[in-house]
Symmetry: C2
Subunit: 455 residues, 2 copies
């Protein structure tokens, strides 16, 4: 169960945080400094992300200079931007020194263009060329994810030569599961998996043992598609090529894992009108405006629902029990609709849903909704008949419930597909659009039926 395990892991972070806060309170930054030295850059980054702004600033100032770049690289974009704010160029250059070009590019993209240009021009020529190679591509594409630390070999070499060539390296790139095979024009022609290199006959050539059934990744493929390919084929790394098939770099699984996390977070956060990169500990002035937009939109849709109710003032005036019961119909529609919406949005994110199976899915949702609406309409009808001792109002709420639950299933299944066709993010707009529909239809069907029977 994810739940209990989160507790364990979280408790470790929490213990470290408590020690940290105690040390900071007692004023011994020496002690904090010492504590940070025993932690990995990843653990420090997690502590920074788990701290409110004022502690973040102190923490950052106490991190050793030789790991601060690595810590920065592990932080989310929003927290990075916060730390870089107001930092001078020189500090930035020393900060990013020694990081992978793709990570440097990610960090630089948090900066205003002018500052980015300054930092780039202060870097060494080789470093700048590498980083600019990555910066040429959008952050959300394969080009923006790749590293240029590729080890490539020619097909005519023998394994023995390759092994000797590798031994001349001081260090090899991380996640090296295959060497890239290129021709004279530096065009990708295949991969030589390290395990074939290790088990193959030393006299055999690279050509004999290389894998050629692998399609390299085009530099402009979106990061989400890259992540899906990695997950599908269990890759550890994959080569990236330009439009002409020339080798540009390679993407490794560690960068892909971050993409998978962000994409999975996207639906959850968007449904609440939030951004997937949202910093948990953003200060009030950063958090409030984002929430405001969503609340404002909801206020408009709530007013629309009120306007609908307003059309039935006379009916309510006559039968005040209607006012007591009407939120039930709207609320049930909202819950039923969001269940359908969540299933469809997730299915779309997984690339499972399109025009071919939408009609099946819609009829499944309507079928499931019909069953549920019959059950719960009966239950609410019985409760209301007993509560208000009025069989007419019991019948009205039961009928309105059936109408609204069927509407909810229809809207929940169709809205996201419609929004996507309009190029609007279904996860972001789906929730509001849906509750607008279920509120309006809920009040309209309940109060409309009541007006028909009572007036």
């Amino acid at each position: 169960m994810p739940h209990s395990s989160q507790a364990e892991n979280s408790s470790r972070t929490q213990t470290q945080l408590r020690q940290l806060v105690t040390a900071l309170d007692s004023g011994t930054s020496q002690q904090v400094h010492h504590m940070l030295r025993t932690l990995s850059p990843q653990s420090i980054a997690h502590l920074v992300e788990s701290s409110p702004p004022h502690i973040r600033r102190v923490l950052w100032s106490l991190i050793d200079e030789d790991v601060d770049g690595e810590v920065l690289q592990e932080l989310s974009d929003e927290v990075q931007a916060q730390i870089l704010e107001g930092m001078d160029t020189e500090t930035m250059v020393s900060l990013v020194e020694g990081l992978d070009p793709d990570d440097v590019a990610d960090i630089l993209q948090q900066l205003p263009d002018r500052v980015m240009a300054e930092v780039l021009s202060a870097m060494s020529d080789t470093d700048r060329a590498r980083v600019e190679g990555v910066l040429a591509y959008d952050e959300d594409t394969a080009g923006g994810l790749m590293n240029t630390d590729v080890i490539s070999v020619r097909p005519n070499l023998t394994l023995d030569t390759v092994l000797r060539y590798l031994r001349r390296h001081e260090d090899l790139p991380d996640s090296l599961d295959a060497l890239t095979v290129v021709n004279r024009k530096d065009e990708f022609i295949g991969l030589l998996p390290i395990k074939r290199l290790l088990t193959g006959n030393p006299g055999a050539t690279v050509r004999e043992l290389m894998q050629t059934d692998i399609e390299p990744i085009p530099a402009d493929m979106s990061d989400t598609d890259v992540a899906r390919l990695f997950a599908k084929y269990d890759w550890v790394s994959a080569p990236v090529v330009d439009a002409g098939g020339h080798l540009l770099g390679r993407i490794t699984i560690d960068d892909v894992v971050d993409v998978i996390r962000e994409d999975a977070d996207h639906s959850l956060m968007s449904l609440a009108g939030l951004d997937e990169e949202e910093d948990t500990f953003a200060p009030v002035m950063r958090a409030a405006p984002r929430r405001a937009v969503w609340l404002g939109i909801n206020l408009m849709t709530a007013l629309l629902a009120s306007f609908v109710i307003g059309q039935f003032q006379e009916t309510i005036d006559k039968v005040v029990a209607l006012a007591v019961l009407m939120p039930i119909v709207a609320s049930m529609g909202g819950v039923a609709g969001s269940q359908t919406l969540t299933v469809v949005i997730r299915g779309m994110a997984l690339g499972q849903i399109g025009r071919n199976n939408l009609s099946w899915l819609l009829s499944r949702e309507l079928g499931s909704s019909m069953l549920n609406s019959l059950i719960w309409a009966t239950v609410i009808g019985a409760i209301v008949a007993w509560w208000f001792n009025d069989i007419t109002i019991a019948f009205i709420i039961a009928a309105a419930m059936i109408i609204n639950l069927l509407t909810a299933a229809f809207a929940g299944a169709v809205l996201p597909v419609f929004l996507k066709a309009m190029r609007i993010d279904p996860a972001l707009a789906g929730g509001v659009a849906l509750t607008t529909v279920t509120d309006v239809v809920g009040f309209l069907s309940f109060l409309g039926l009541a007006t028909y029977f009572y007036m």
Copy 2:
């Protein structure tokens, strides 16, 4: 943008699905069979998951026998269970032949105990022993994720000897980024990264070059914690040990990626009362009961809100405009609360939130909520004053809005932490608990204030 890229990738699946449906409709299963042969097991699995039940059955029957095991292993638990239903033992045994022990264990766990025992006893002794080794551990732990295909070496060997030893293998395990170093008692003592093996002096010993600063994973660690370690340290594989430190197996990143996806899905699906393994194309009779539970719970909480409104029937009878406006206060509270709830639940899933920073987070939420409630109370007050030409009701709705948005922020921040302390999954119960609070407080504050001013 995840959105546009999903469109591209999804369109490819959709094209394949369309071809498939056309081929199935025209009755040429020969053609479908041919089409499936050109696809990888992963692509076939994706097609199966993207198909309604009746097409799934036909698809499955047309998959080549030599890839059906691999296809099955790629499917989600729920779809696996569906396909295995009613299959005879012999077919199952041939199906799982050649798969990794951890994948076989996953598949067998979908079966009733009796059938599982039958399949196990029909397997070869070696295969059974391997699978039982994994089955001994819970599916959600490191033991359940691991494979037993570890290559281990002794510390006193030279690199040259190790290289010769590896060359004697026909094939090496996938994702092999390091060899495991064990002592005579088979206790884990370190890792020899393949890259050190490749660059190191052939005469050097394993002991000189091995990494000893790596903590092996205990077999009973939860899969979520394992995933967090992989993401944190960018591992490709990691050794698993028993309580005594003896090497049991290794976990590879491809299995961890699945865990990361499921965990990220958990919050999204739970908030709608759904399971993260929910099959998008589950038939009505499977989908409806799950939804019913959630709708039933919501009906109870909606009745509670109605009961609150019922206490104010006289007031509503006197000022019918109250009935028109009251859903606005409840709705705004629900949206504001779910924003806070989502941020806190995600922060908890990332292990960022605990007792140390909760009070900071709570004050940030209250601060942000105060700002927003002032803005939107003013807006709604102005609109209502103009709409109903009544300054008292404008003041009442503004005041109720402030009360409910502050309550929403408090409940959204505190409820998940409270639920977790009660060992209830906050993602599952948080949404309902929250809207109950915001509905009740919304109606109570608005109608209560109205009663005070009008009665």
